[in-house]
Amino acid sequence: MIEFAVKNAWLVALLPLLSSIVITFLTRKSPVLSSRISRAFIFMALTLSSLICYEAVNDIDYVLQNSAGSLRWFTSGSFDFALSWKVDAVTAMMLVVVTLISTLVQLYSREYMEEYIHKGYSFSRYYAELSLFSFSMLLLVLTDNFLVLYAGWELVGVSSFLLIGFFFEKKSAPYAAKKAFLANRVGDFGFLLGILLIFTYTNTLNFDVAAAQIAAGKMTGGVLTLAAILTFFGAMGKSGQFPLHIWLPDAMEGPTPVSALIHAATMVAAGVYMVAKIMTIFAQATFPVLWGFNALDFIAAIGGITAIMAAFIAITQTDIKKILAYSTVSQLGFMILTLGMYSTEGGITPLGYTAGMFHLFTHAFFKAMLFLCSGSVIHACHTQDIFEMGGLRKKMPVTAITCLIGTAAISGAPGFAGFWSKDAMLDAIYEGNMFLFALAAIGATMTAFYMFRLYFLTFEGEYRGHGHPHEPGWRMKFPLIFLAIPSVLIGFVGTPWADYFKDFVHYTPVVKHATEHAAHHGPNWIVMGCSLAIFTVGTGLSFALYGKGDLSKSEALSLKMGGLFKASLNKLYIDEAYLWFIDKFVLAFAKASSLFDKFVIDMIVNVVSWACIGVAHFAKRMHSGNIQQYAMGVIVSVLLLIFAGTNYVYIAKQLPIYWVWITIGLILAVALSVLGYFGNLFKKILDSK
């Protein structure tokens, strides 16, 4: 069975695609059956990926040797474009994460979406799109070549477009869907160019071969750095990095389980995963381009900016899903920042690489759980505003406890999953760059602050809303409880004392050679102390302000903060800046082009046609029947011909001179315009009859 799973790894991706196809074509009319099919298929995919991952943990070499496969997709010239796949350690890990979260989300959705089904939305469409989403993500996780990666990448964009715009009769949902697609496309534009650069220089699309070709000197210097940065644009789009993060908070227009899927497993993870997967290429792009930045510096800087910016915005948001959205943006920023950490020897610090991947791994569990908690709360309260919640702990104890666990995990409470991964990240950043470490520490403190703010305002104090909140049924509770376990425990696979996670990821060919010369790295007590301090300060501040679950203290403080508060509340006006740019430049340019097209290009065409009418008009007049006039014409023509014939040497000499041509051109243009004017007049006279 294990052998079958490893040798047919492509099945993991194919199963959700199949379920999507079956639902669309066969069971569209029976929603419950569709949901069952979808859940069955994704569960099979989960089983297969668990087997693959189990084998990868046991015997990674077997997986590396037996999981690869390739199909000819099409041929151009003599180059075969292939659909190829391969499983390495990181891939095996991602397969489990994606299929596990997908399975839980699909189970959860069965209950959560029921009320919308009664409003007339199609369950079948929902599950077909959800399956397509999982397929796209699994495709890009499984592949080992750039074209298929790009294809999976785009498909993730498509399925997110479909799911974010699920409530298509609203104004905001299709808008958010379009925004997500466009922001992603901006990133994809760079991604495509990066891929094209790598393809042009190395003449291969395979990750490993391309990396080897680059190592062999096929692509060096500024071009390589440029290619790496352009490729990273794709990650900026998908993983919501500044300045392309704007779509992520709006993507909350989709159903909440979809948000859980997007934010934990299927979409935003893609960017981080891609950077990790082709880390060997990034790590070689050490040639500095702008202001001495190389590719990894650029990645780290973008990650750092994103981490702190999103955390700053999250502090004042009141929509429970938006807070979680910005927290995702911020956490992704941490991961990207960590991936950008490199050692001075030129190889990659396994610390940065493994820590980034480790946080991606742990974050998937508790972020999915937090979103599902928020879904449970929204399901119960019919609002997303945390100011209208409060005191829910007594009414929904399971949701409250799981949410508290998730909050503790993401804030880095000692022992919880997030603590270990965040500690690993801070450790890596500490080794790399002290300034970024300070930035990350502030960001992490803010994380603890706003996450506990969310928890206190939602679950503590008195209920401020008007509904009758209650605990959901087992289909929604089960995923919450199930995810609570890894949120607490999964961190123990990667403690500084026994880092099984690192040893596992170590076997990814990408890092293998780099880690081999890295010394064993024990706990860094300074960083661990910082981690503790960060958690204590953040949580403490939050407790002081919101601990009782009331808003009086914070409102007073927000008035005092003035501009800073407003900037955070209005998301640093980044959306407004985009809209201004699109309106004032893009659409204005489009309108200007349209006017140019109508009044310049098309006008020339019309003038030419009018000129023909004008010529005809004058020509008609010449045929007056007057013999003297004809004779005059003949004489003038003959004289002109004689003049030209006797002076042709002179005329021929003049012809290459530019002003002769300019004069001729001007005369022609004037003649054309004059004729066009008369032609138009004549045409109007004709038309008026």
């Binding site: 000819r72 997709w73 099409f74 041929t75 151009s76 010239g77 003599s78 180059f79 469409r125 074209l147 790009y150 294809a151 999976g152 785009e154 498909l155 964009g157 498509v158 477009f161 479909l162 715009g165 298509f168 009769e169 609203k170 104004k171 949902a173 299709p174 808008y175 869907a177 379009k178 697609f181 466009l182 496309r185 901006v186 994809d188 534009f189 495509l192 160019l193 094209l196 650069l197 393809f199 042009t200 893009v586 659409l587 340019f589 489009a590 309108k591 082009s593 349209s594 097209d597 290009i601 098309d602 020339i604 065409v605 046609s609």
Partner: protein, 512 residues
């Protein structure tokens, strides 16, 4: 008088080319009482359907070239002496370049006839003209004799003039006149070049010209460049290439749905087909490094990029649904130019594939403009909205069509655009990078259109609209199946196109 010995080969292609005219003559023979029973419609459908089946048989019996040394792979050759005084032959055949176009024509014509199902104004004449046009288009794609090509090229104009001029919208006469005059004006350039070639070499035969006498090769590069550019101008009008594109939106807006489908789906490809077949084939040295006068590949890439970006911005600014799609055609046909300018296997394959993919996708787009217009009697985007609530199946299809329009994987446009980018990036990286930005703008206007027409709240005026009917569903399913099939497995087409591309490159002396 060489007639191939194999049964299928002899006259089979001729049968395909002229079968539509037979169907058209039947239309003329129908009694007027048949109109009420939609007999003309059914006869037209039968004709196009049979031609489609025959083209499929043609495609299945076509053998992609395996001989790496041959520059030709013409099959189903029919060659008879036509005008002996001019040494002109009736010479038709298909190869990997024309076969996809023949298939596309057969396919699009079925859809066009189905889209004309509601025509009540003189249906017999309408379908007669349409069938003549189909024959002319087949003739353009299969002719290997320059004079025959020219005749077929002009023959296509006449029915189109009447079809737009009689069955079109409010400004139909203006649009029809503009279309015909513009194209006829441009084909004067082609006639001059073809006559020049004839007087220089004494033959109109494409095969002979490529193999032996090489058009103007004896007259030096200056004349060749001039002739090449003249020929390209003729085809550029048809493509259409900026700045010769302004007839296109007018023609589209005034033409009935079926004609828009044919125009964007097939007729534009005549331009790009001519460029590759006759521009590249007859003047192989002009685009390559042997031409030291002008770097034409660079200028072609420039024009392609302008087409792509300028067309996309124009599409973004439109307020009429049909104009958005008309300008998106300008943008997408720019990819064909850009791919050709790549001057390598990826670029040319991408360009040829793009001709096919654009034909299939844009036909669906215009079909859906027709669907919306039939029901709401408006194409003003501002007045529309929320239609997916009334027409859920139409909404779902339109999302799929939009996705094909923005070239997502799984649709054939993804492959063609990627190949165009991969090919042109090698030679013109900056222009390609500029053109690649259209992935954003293209997504912008397509999804915006989608959002404003089908999504959001439903204005009360549009309550109670019927969803798409069976005929429309059949058309869109037919096209969508082909878009997805060739998107998931592009080798279906590329295995035919790629050998032809290699042969073109061999003619032009580009190393593969």
């Amino acid at each position: 008088m060489a007639v191939d010995s194999s049964v299928l080969n002899s006259l089979f292609l001729t049968l395909i080319v002229f079968f539509p005219i037979l169907g058209g003559l039947v239309q003329l023979a129908l009694p007027s009482s048949s109109v009420a029973k939609k007999i003309p419609h059914k006869v037209a459908l039968g004709t196009t359907f049979i031609t489609f089946i025959m083209s499929l048989i043609l495609a299945m019996n076509f053998k992609p070239s395996t001989d790496p040394s041959s520059v030709f792979n013409f099959q189903f050759v029919d060659k008879f002496s036509w005008i002996p005084v001019l040494n002109s032959n009736y010479h038709i055949a298909v190869d990997g370049l024309s076969l996809p176009m023949v298939l596309l024509t057969s396919l699009i014509m079925i859809v066009a006839v189905l889209a004309s199902w509601k025509i009540e104004k003189m249906p017999r004449m309408y379908f007669f003209l349409m069938m003549i046009m189909q024959t002319a288009v087949y003739g353009v794609f299969t002719s290997l004799d320059l004079l025959l090509f020219f005749v077929m090229w002009e023959l296509e104009l006449i029915p189109m003039y009447f079809l737009i001029g009689i069955w079109g919208g409010a400004r139909r006469e203006y649009a029809a006149m503009k279309f015909v005059l513009y194209t006829a004006f441009a084909s004067a350039f082609m006639l001059i070049v073809f006559l020049g070639i004839y007087f220089n070499t004494g033959t109109f035969d494409y095969v002979q010209l490529v193999q032996g006498s090489k058009a103007f090769a004896n007259l030096g590069m200056g004349i060749q460049v001039l002739a090449f550019v003249s020929l390209m101008i003729c085809f550029a009008v048809k493509l259409p290439m900026v700045p010769f594109h302004t007839w296109l939106p007018d023609a589209h807006v005034e033409a009935p749905t079926a004609l828009s489908i044919v125009l964007a789906g097939v007729l534009l490809k005549m331009g790009s087909y001519g460029m590759i077949r006759f521009g590249f084939g007859l003047f192989p040295d002009v685009m390559s490094a042997k031409n030291t006068i002008l770097d034409l590949s660079f200028w072609l890439a420039c024009l392609g990029t302008i087409n792509i970006i300028y067309g996309a911005f124009l599409a973004l600014a439109q307020t009429d649904m049909k104009r958005v799609i008309a300008y998106s055609s300008v943008s997408h046909m720019g990819f064909v130019l850009l791919g050709m300018a790549g001057m390598n296997a990826n670029g040319l394959n991408g360009a040829i594939l793009q001709m096919f993919t654009h034909g299939t996708i844009t036909a669906m787009m215009f079909l859906f403009v027709g669907v919306v217009y039939d029901r709401t009697h408006t194409r003003e985007i501002a007045k529309l909205g929320g239609l997916a609530q009334q027409m859920p199946i139409a909404g779902a299809f339109f999302v799929a069509i939009s996705m094909a329009g923005v070239a997502v994987p799984g649709m054939n446009s993804f492959v063609s655009e990627f190949l165009v980018f991969a090919g042109s990036f090698q030679n013109h990286p900056y222009l390609c990078a500029l053109a690649a930005f259209s992935v954003v703008i293209g997504a912008g206007y397509t999804l915006w259109l989608n959002e404003r027409v089908f999504f959001g709240p439903l204005p009360s005026a549009w309550r109670g609209l019927p969803d798409i009917n069976k005929i429309e569903t059949f058309s869109v399913v037919l096209l969508m199946t082909i878009v997805i099939a060739t998107g998931l497995y592009p080798a279906l087409l590329l295995d035919i196109i790629n050998p032809a591309t290699k042969q073109i490159m061999m003619i032009m002396g580009i190393p593969a």
